[in-house]
Symmetry: D3
């Protein structure tokens, strides 16, 4: 499947924190940056996400803001 | 100002494409990954975004999805 | 690629309206409902979207609201 | 009230899973597709959502991505 | 129709800037704050939005971030 | 840091409800309107959010919908 989301960053899962409905999933990029994602527990299970697994952070372009130092 | 958004990725603006209301802004991270953002033209102007400027991509954790290779 | 987005609705593209940066893409589901999506022109091109093509509407669960009749 | 959100899909609530702050609400469309939504518990209570109730899934066009089979 | 979105702010439209696909709509609250929204042109037309019209800004709770002064 | 988000509303935190992963934070504007936000617990802690603290609600323009009375 090919997706319209313009941003696809490959990394490795380094942490999964499970809540009642949602989980927090942390993905580390090769350069060391960490991305924090909130997805449902059902998705965590269906993708088999756990520490060490390769995964992509996927972000729609309209959900990225920009900031600059003042 | 300190923001609740959990994801703040520092990079450099490498492209700005202006539309009628929105612009597409491409930020390159130090590791070479490119992030594409859609923000309003007014924001592009008020932040002074242009090729070569340092900038951050800012993303709320609930707006990041996760994918895995099948 | 397998995605964490919980909502994946298969249909057919029935309209593409191109703007300067974004396009409006309308997907009709088998039951006749129409879904309207705004994605970048670059995505429209890279996915080869045009009238008649099979496509999926993909929606993160946290982006769906619920309403009821009063 | 009339809303700018371009996508309004009528269905029936088939599941509500309550967490500490958010709930997962599943709406089945007449054609059998299921949509999963994450909304706050307060919204679930104020809308009186429960299994069997008619409800709409409401989605802003900029929150729908598109995918195609490869 | 009653909506799950937790945030509904009543005000008056003070500006509409039309693009090719999307429009920028500015709503002024009674306290003088201005809210800027990007919605499709089709929504602007179907809601009859124009300067002076009463309107609500509608925001899902998961789309509001928080910031503090440092 | 200066942010592309077009909407920045100053107010005071009047409630924080903590869940397993996410918290609900309510900010009251000077005019008395209340805004409800869902952010991660980690953000609540790192911003030191608690009842009485001054804070801003931050919203990207593409995440604001518009509604009118019928």
């Amino acid at each position: 499947m090919k997706l319209s989301a313009r941003n696809l960053l490959k990394g490795k899962v380094v942490k999964v924190v499970k809540g009642a409905v949602n989980s927090e999933v942390v993905i580390e990029l090769p350069g060391g940056e960490k991305l924090v994602s909130i997805i449902t527990n059902t998705s965590v299970a269906s993708l088999g996400l756990k520490k060490g697994k390769e995964a992509y952070a996927v972000i729609k372009a309209s959900n990225i803001m920009v900031a600059v130092d003042e």
